[in-house]
């Protein structure tokens, strides 16, 4: 009986560890560099102001979220802390929070300007973290802030901190959506084109999917949607030489130029493709169409049109 029980426990343990191993896809860090941390924050779309601490390896990153200034404390890559500051509150209220909260604590601090409350949360890196761990740490803290402010009764506002200077970073697309999907149904592509005020003529593709002919800023283009798996965009020009198309392909990125001779009709095609299988968003599709317009103009100039 005891032997059977031991076997069951062993099987369970093996199965659980196999499942856990199979699920683990990301590298684990036991120490982070500031660059890794900054990369993660940039990946989360955070614009921060970096301040060097007095101790070596200590940095502070101030950033805005929902009109609240948060600070990430980076302690030599070994642990990090997030905090948000509030006006002074009674200790009983802070203690009540601390008895129920799981992932944060509220503390009363004092500096030369007076007393203030900090909602804080820490993450130990030395035991090992992944990118997902750090992202989840941020997301959990945002939830803690929401719950803490509800706990305060909404009567408190964050202690004002100097607004961080925006870092020079690529700005996200205005409007649109960063939600990732792995297939582009026709309606989705048509929604993006509609938002760009593109009036298109839709036709079916042999083998499935559709293509869309339209004028965009004076250039005739065609977008192909092959069953939502990948998109292509092209523009047609007069024929040229193989040397010229090769020369252009050497000079440019993101496109290719190709000579076609179909049934006596010779022409040059400027083309770009996007693979949707890894994921795509409406913003990416928009960017794909808008930047192709620039490619068309550049190629027209190259051909001397």
């Amino acid at each position: 009986m005891l032997h059977a029980t031991k076997v069951k426990v062993l099987v369970l343990t093996l199965l659980l560890s196999t499942a856990a191993t199979a699920g683990a896809q990301e590298p684990v860090y036991k120490k982070m560099t500031p660059e890794q941390m900054e990369g993660l924050m940039q990946g989360m779309g955070l614009t921060y102001k970096k301040i060097t601490g007095m101790n070596p390896g200590t940095f502070y990153y101030d950033f805005n979220r929902n009109n609240k200034v948060l600070r990430l404390h980076f302690f030599n890559g070994q642990d990090i802390m997030l905090d948000a500051l509030y006006d002074r509150q009674p200790l009983e209220m802070l203690n009540k929070w601390n008895t129920r909260a799981k992932f944060s604590r509220a503390c009363l601090h004092k500096d030369n300007k007076g007393e203030f409350v900090a909602l804080e949360s820490n993450l130990d890196i030395i035991g090992g973290v992944t990118d997902s761990t750090v992202r989840n740490f941020f997301n959990t803290f945002y939830q803690e802030i929401t719950a803490f402010e509800k706990h305060l009764g909404g009567s408190s506002t964050p202690t004002p901190m100097p607004m961080p200077m925006p870092m020079p970073m690529p700005m996200p697309q205005v409007g649109g959506d960063d939600t990732i999907f792995k297939n582009v149904p026709p309606e989705r592509l048509e929604k993006v084109m509609g938002a760009l005020n593109i009036m298109y003529k839709k036709s079916p593709l042999k083998g499935g999917g559709f293509f869309y002919d339209f004028d965009y800023k004076g250039s005739k283009m065609r977008v192909y949607n092959w069953n939502g798996n990948d998109l292509m965009i092209d523009a047609v020009f007069k024929t040229t030489t193989l040397d010229k198309v090769n020369q252009y392909n050497l000079q440019r990125k993101f496109i290719r130029t190709v000579l076609y001779a179909d049934g006596g009709n010779q022409y040059t095609s400027l083309e770009a493709n996007i693979d949707c299988a890894g994921g795509i968003s409406e913003n990416m599709i928009r960017h794909f169409i808008v930047t192709f317009d620039e490619e068309v103009r550049a190629f027209a100039k190259f051909l001397g049109n």
Binding site: V11, L16, M44, F254, G278, G279
Partner: protein, 165 residues
């Protein structure tokens, strides 16, 4: 085996199945969320993390210009170079020394979707570059970058088959 043992066995099997589904579901969800987070610049650390996660052993070579790095690695028996231009765009290529013609190069470009072939003439020597680029400014995710690298494997295989025919 008596009825008690059979019942215990069934209960255990059900528990194991439920735990397995639960753990894999949570892990898959977490992995999908992490891999689908959109960013518009690819820092070196991030790209290197993705390569390591794909078990790609690379040699990092800094470019002449600041912010440009190259990653050389072997994949499927071919030498590949992945370029990172200040995190704004990625480029992947494989070079071939086979004799070719511009007609053959153009023939590939007619049929290819996710790459292009370019003939590079330098110092009397001709090299075919099979290459693909990805603009990151519109947004990328870890999964998109992995797909970009994996897709290029297929492009190489198809190009080698095409060019040898």
């Amino acid at each position: 085996m008596n009825r008690r043992h059979v019942r215990q066995g069934v209960v255990l099997a059900v528990l194991v199945a439920l735990i397995g589904v639960g753990v894999s579901g949570v892990a898959a969800s977490a992995a999908q969320d992490a891999g689908d987070q959109v960013y518009r610049n690819v820092p070196s650390d991030r790209l290197e993390g993705i390569l390591r996660g794909m078990n790609i052993v690379f040699t990092k070579v800094p470019g002449k210009m600041e912010g440009v790095n190259f990653y050389d690695f072997d994949r499927g028996g071919f030498k590949i170079r992945l370029h990172n231009y200040n995190g704004k765009d990625l480029w992947i290529d494989a070079l071939f020394n086979d004799r070719t013609t511009l007609e053959k190069i153009n023939g590939w470009n007619r049929r290819a979707k996710f790459s292009r072939a370019v003939l590079i003439s330098s110092g009397g020597k001709e090299t075919i570059s099979l290459e693909s680029q990805m603009d990151c400014l519109g947004g990328v995710t870890d999964n998109i970058i992995r797909q970009f690298i994996n897709r290029f494997d297929g492009e190489i295989r198809d190009f080698v088959k095409y060019h040898s025919n």
